[in-house]
C-alpha cells in the first residue's frame, strides 16, 4: 500500500519498487552468470580483469547493479532501523552511520569499476 502523508515517504515507496524491479533483472542475472555459468571458486582477480570486466558493457551493468542495490538496500535497512530503534538520538546516529556506509561503498565500488585495468585473458 502506498503510504499517505509526507511526500518524502511516497518518494521512498516508489524508489523501492522501481529499484526492486531493476534488481529483479540485474541481481538475478548477475547471480546466474557468476554462480551458475561460472564458479565463484574459480574467480581470481585475473578472471575479473580479463573476462568479467574486459568489456564496457559488463562494467556498466555491474555499476548499475551497484547503484540500485545501494538505493534499495540502504532504504530497506532504513525502514528496519526506523521500525526498531525508537530513541531519537540512537535512531539519528544509526541512520548517519548507515548513510555514511552507503556513500563509502558508492565511492569504493565506483572507483574499482572505473580504474581496474582490463587485461587480455592469460591463456
Amino acid at each position: 500500500m502506498r503510504p499517505r502523508g509526507s511526500r518524502r515517504e511516497v518518494f521512498v515507496w516508489y524508489t523501492m519498487r522501481v529499484s526492486g524491479l531493476m534488481l529483479f533483472v540485474l541481481a538475478l542475472a548477475h547471480f546466474s552468470i557468476l554462480h551458475f555459468i561460472y564458479d565463484p571458486g574459480a574467480q581470481t582477480a585475473d578472471f575479473i580483469a580479463s573476462q568479467r570486466w574486459n568489456q564496457f558493457f559488463w562494467r556498466a551493468f555491474d555499476w548499475l547493479l551497484l547503484m540500485n542495490v545501494l538505493l534499495h538496500g540502504f532504504l530497506g535497512v532504513r525502514t528496519v532501523v526506523v521500525d526498531y530503534i525508537h530513541r531519537p538520538a540512537w535512531r539519528d546516529f544509526t541512520l548517519l552511520l548507515l548513510y555514511t556506509t552507503a556513500v563509502l561503498l558508492l565511492i569504493i565500488g565506483t572507483q574499482v569499476i572505473l580504474t581496474l585495468p582490463s587485461a587480455t585473458a592469460a591463456q
Binding site: 541481481a27 582477480a45 538496500g73 569504493i108 565500488g109 580504474t115
Partner: protein, 133 residues
C-alpha cells in the same frame, strides 16, 4: 493435553510469514553486499588477497553459504514481485494465496536445480564413489 508455549500456538498467516522472510532475507543480502563491495575492491588494491578470499567459495561451508545466499535472493525477488503486483493491481489481493503458493512453486522449480549446480562439487564425488557418476 499438551499445552504449547504461546509463541508456537499462534499460527501466523501467509502475509506475516512473507513479511518476516522478506525482512530476514533482505538483511542477509544487505550484509553480503557490504562484504562483496569490499572484496571486489581488493581486485584493484590487493589481487593476491582477493584470490585467497574467493577460495572460500571452493570449500564445502562456502558452497552451502552460497546456496543460502541464492535462496535469500530468489525468495526476496519473487516476494518483491508479488508485493509490486498487488500494489499496482489491488484486485490481485483476492488471489493473494495463489500468488503466495505460486511464488513458492517458482522458488522450488528454479531454486532446486540452481542449488544442485552450486553443490555439484559436493554431490558429484559421492555419486562417483558409488559408481554412479
Amino acid at each position: 493435553m499438551i499445552r504449547l508455549p504461546n509463541v508456537l500456538r499462534y499460527r501466523p498467516r501467509e502475509g506475516m510469514i512473507a513479511w518476516a522472510f522478506h525482512r530476514i532475507s533482505g538483511i542477509g543480502i544487505f550484509a553480503f553486499v557490504l562484504l562483496h563491495v569490499l572484496d571486489i575492491y581488493l581486485v584493484g588494491g590487493n589481487p593476491k588477497l582477493y584470490d585467497e578470499v574467493l577460495a572460500f567459495y571452493k570449500s564445502i561451508p562456502g558452497r552451502f553459504l552460497e546456496v543460502i545466499l541464492g535462496a535469500a535472493l530468489l525468495y526476496h525477488s519473487l516476494n518483491g514481485l508479488r508485493i509490486i503486483l498487488i500494489d499496482l493491481w489491488p484486485r490481485m489481493t483476492a488471489y493473494h494465496k495463489l500468488l503466495w503458493w505460486g511464488s513458492w512453486v517458482i522458488f522450488i522449480v528454479v531454486g532446486v536445480p540452481g542449488g544442485l549446480i552450486i553443490l555439484r562439487p559436493v554431490w558429484l564425488p559421492i555419486l562417483q564413489q558409488l559408481g554412479l557418476g
